[in-house]
């Protein structure tokens, strides 16, 4: 199916909901890997709002991106509780292991604050990380 057809379907699924924009953007982001200009325009038309309004929402939230990034993503929590458990000391080797191939995203809190440092890859959660385990996760991402 074309991108246009798929977005039309997603808009249709959520059309009857109260405040449908965020659910639509989540689905489009998950399926297409981004919400690009064409998608914004199409969603705006479907909801009868301006493209600027859609753009404003896409740019506000960390979960949505305007451009695709095909690299695998490793989210590492660097909030206070993980800092207290030493995540900052792992970052240089993590960045080195990631190189250009893997994208490392900072996330503020995965809610596993008693067993950090923590990381998330897709829907998989990893706790009690040390340098070696984190490097291995990144290499296998």
């Amino acid at each position: 199916m074309t991108q246009e057809g798929r977005i039309a379907e997603i808009c249709e699924i959520h059309a009857g909901r109260e405040g449908p924009l965020l659910p639509i953007l989540h689905d489009v982001q998950a399926e297409l890997g981004c919400v690009d200009a064409a998608a914004e325009m199409q969603i705006a038309n479907a909801l009868n709002i301006s493209r600027a309004e859609v753009r404003g929402v896409v740019s506000f939230y960390h979960d949505f991106s305007a451009e695709p990034d095909p690299r695998p993503v490793v989210q590492i929590c660097r909030a206070e509780a993980c800092k207290a458990r030493g995540v900052e000391a792992l970052m240089p080797s993590a960045s080195a292991a990631a190189g250009e191939r893997v994208r490392i995203d900072t996330v503020y809190c995965l809610g596993l604050c008693s067993v950090g440092p923590n990381a998330r890859i897709g829907d998989d959660l990893h706790a009690r990380l040390n340098g070696e385990r984190l490097t291995r996760l990144i290499e296998n991402a």
Partner: protein, 510 residues
């Protein structure tokens, strides 16, 4: 063959419970995934024939089944860490299967809702008010008064919104409740709907909690008939910390940028889509079924101290030996929480600082460990309880770096609506850098002849600190919401308690 119970909490999963489950299944056991007990340092926890085993890996399975494992910790419910708690909101933790309607009913589930239906809206609000239940999200506003306002508002449509955007570092009680006892939240929302006359409920759940999203959606499907005609829908957040602020959350639900709204109008009168709306935290709503049970309100109100009634699910996190969920009546001191219950730091080094209340909470020095867990006592000490997160740091922590991070976090997560927060956070981060550098020379702009009113003298470290204090005052008084308004708490507490980390003379010397 024995029934093996393994915690299904995300902490257990992150610590490798899936491999343990597989190993037990392959050994011919029936595995039940139950909610987590909250003893996170022992996860993955496994229970076989009433005996608990800690930090279990797949390699331990044969020893456990053969009765020769050295990882046994005895009956979990009798473990002192569990038996010393007063669990009301988390009464089912570790004991029931999260998505079993059978388990829920067998442990008193729906009793509150059934009674609420018998006594009617006015009596429900009255009982919630008299129980003294206060909002557990951080502000501590009395739940009954909020409900009263929404109940009294005239509108064709009203909403119950559950704030499950638990973004504070060091907190995980909302996640544990939703993953472990989702029907309790659903029941609490249904009771709230009955009390105020709402037709629809939303749970705004953060995208960082994938397990909770799946569990809650499944639970809502299972419980739909129980709560009808009231309906609940899960809405997934999109990674914005500020959406934990109630008005920003409402904008996000409406499909807008998560920008904070000015108050008034109060959300209770003009909330979601302009309609009267109850916005309550997960823990507030999940405490309601207990309050509505026969005698529940009086029991809840008899616990705690001062105006902080009932119990608080406290989350012990960060560099702490025994981290996890500890629910107890208000009034417990911070020292008891950190040293006795938490067992000190995980690293074995001395405790340097404790941040209570998430990223916007003050850093508390060990010499204030006699502070009782109470909204008013914390407010009096220029600190806050927030959502009940307690994050411990050992003596490796650099408090100047933590203060700089507080500003950096505020800058990254500011919604941009009000100036003190949007600009203050960036300027604050720069200021911390300049304090660490020992002050600064006048810059090119300040030396320009046109700027003849500007001082060209070198600014000392002490002058930069004064400037920082000024900035913090502006942010405190001038920000629209707690993000900008409370960022000064961690910053000022860090500089007051550990001035030496900022290159200033230690406390007591000036």
């Amino acid at each position: 063959m024995s029934i093996v119970r393994i915690s299904s909490d995300a902490v257990a999963r992150a610590c490798g419970s899936a491999e343990v489950e597989r190993a037990f299944t392959e050994a011919g056991c029936t595995v039940e995934r139950v909610s987590g007990w909250g003893m996170h340092w022992l996860e993955p926890v496994v229970e076989v024939d009433g005996i608990g085993y800690a930090e279990v890996t797949a390699a331990d399975v044969s020893a456990i089944l053969g009765g020769s494992s050295d990882k046994a910790i005895g009956a979990i419910a009798e473990h002192p860490w569990i038996s010393s708690q007063q669990r009301l909101t988390f009464a089912r933790a570790g004991r029931t299967r999260p998505l079993s309607m059978e388990d829920y009913e067998a442990t008193g589930g729906w009793a509150g809702l059934n009674r609420a239906r018998r006594i009617g809206p006015e009596a429900i609000v009255e009982e919630v008010t008299s129980s003294g239940l206060r909002g557990r999200g951080g502000a501590g506003f009395p739940a009954g008064i909020k409900w009263q306002t929404v109940a009294g508002a005239q509108a064709a449509r009203k909403y119950i919104v559950c704030n499950a955007d638990e973004g504070d570092s060091g907190t995980f009680a909302d996640r544990m409740l939703i993953e472990g006892d989702p029907f309790a939240l659903i029941e609490g929302m249904a009771i709230a709907a009955l009390a105020v006359g709402a037709q629809k409920g939303f749970v705004y759940l953060r995208s960082e909690y994938p397990d909770a999203i799946v569990t809650l959606n499944a639970a809502i499907d299972l419980a739909a008939a129980k709560i009808a005609p009231f309906e609940i829908e899960v809405r997934v957040g999109a990674g914005a910390y500020v959406c934990g602020e109630e008005t920003s959350l409402l904008n996000s639900l409406e499909g807008k940028r998560g920008e904070v709204r000015a108050k008034p109008p109060l959300p209770a009168l003009q909330g979601l889509f302009g309609q009267p709306t109850v916005v309550n935290n997960v823990l507030t709503l999940a405490a309601v079924p207990h309050v509505l049970m026969d005698g529940g309100s009086a029991q809840y109100g008899s616990l705690g101290m001062g105006r902080s009634k009932g119990t608080m699910p406290i989350q012990l996190a960060g560099n702490i030996k025994h981290g996890g969920l500890y629910e107890t009546a208000f009034g417990i001191t911070l020292g008891e929480l950190v040293n006795e219950i938490g067992g000190g730091t995980a690293s074995g080094r001395p405790v340097k600082a404790v941040q209570v209340g998430g990223p916007l909470g003050a850093y508390i020095h060990p010499d204030q460990f006699d502070l009782p867990f109470d909204y008013e006592a914390y407010a009096g000490a220029d600190a806050l309880i927030g959502h009940g997160g307690v994050t411990v740091f050992d003596d490796h922590a650099d408090m100047a770096e933590m203060a700089r991070f507080a500003f950096q976090f505020c800058a990254a997560e500011s919604c941009g609506k009000c100036t003190p927060c949007r600009i203050g956070a960036v300027r604050g981060r720069e200021l911390i850098g300049r304090i660490l550098d020992g002050g600064r020379e006048a810059d090119a702009l300040e030396r320009a002849p046109q700027m003849h009113n500007t001082s060209t003298a070198t600014r000392s470290r002490a002058e930069e600190v004064t400037l920082l204090e000024d900035l913090c005052e502006v942010m405190k008084d001038g920000s629209l919401c707690a993000l900008g308004g409370f960022t000064p708490y961690p910053v000022l507490s860090a500089i007051r308690n550990w001035p030496e980390d900022f290159g200033l003379p230690p406390r007591g010397e000036t």
